[in-house]
Amino acid sequence: MRVGVITFPGTLDDRDAARAVVVGGAEAVSLWHGDADLKNVDAVILPGGFSYGDYLRCGAISRFAPVMQLVIEAANKGMPVLGICNGFQVLCESHLLPGALTRNSDLHFLCRDQEIEITNNQTAWTGSFELGEQIVIPLKNGEGSFQCDDQTLAMLEGEGRVIARYVGENPNGSRNLIAGITNAKGNVVGLMPHPEHAINELTGPSAQGLGFFTSILNAMVK
């Protein structure tokens, strides 16, 4: 199984994401933002970083990259897509996911190990987790506060589309402690904290992030 990892100018976490894909058991395929070619991948990861320098708004310019037009088309047809951190921002700007990520409520860039609870294990990217499982993975961003209108929030909650919530104190002002959401089909997932930095206890707070990368394998095998 081939999982594409997109590199935009300013992307930081593409190598860690590719490594996590390999450790998870799939083949990692590098994709370049300027190429209108998905290289026959079965799934795509939009990694973290500061694509296009976060100019204008985080993810606002990346959304119009040539490769994103193919990702949007494929995602609408059901291809699994995971956006982590800046990738989540790109997915919201692309309207593949509702809502928006805004400046952390205390204005600080946060970098810490964060406990989150998996609240939906029926998506392409969360199937390896138990419902209610609590994991610790890094959270590092300046604009991670998930915001949407009341109607959208009620829809996300009503349809069980919140896939992960922060445990304990709200780190960034996200509505309803939302750390990640999915689309109606469950193939597109956006997540603020970084599972790709937590696949090995030597270099991360845990190896619990790996579940996102094994989930996609299991989802494709089904």
């Binding site: 204008l56 708004r57 606002a60 119009f64 919201c92 700007e93 509702p98 809502g99 928006a100 805004t102 400046r103 952390n104 409520s105 205390d106 204005l107 506060s145 915001q147 949407c148 209108d149 002002g173």
Partner: protein
Amino acid sequence: MAKIVVDVMLKPEILDPQGNAVASALPRLGFSFAKSVRQGKRFEIEIDGEPTPAQLAEVEKAAEVLLSNPVIENYVVRVEK
């Protein structure tokens, strides 16, 4: 040459931590006038000649698609003399 200005502001219901930080800095400097502060973005677009209705419609579209995020922001397009 004319200048088209696009003002982009966070919607009233969206938390504006930057505006709040400015609001709390003002009294520290002795400025006591502000009840609240909201911070936004301003785009100044120069064009040749006077803008036609078609051009203004294009700017409106660009404001909706790129310059603002309609999920969290409102925009206003105007021509500056």
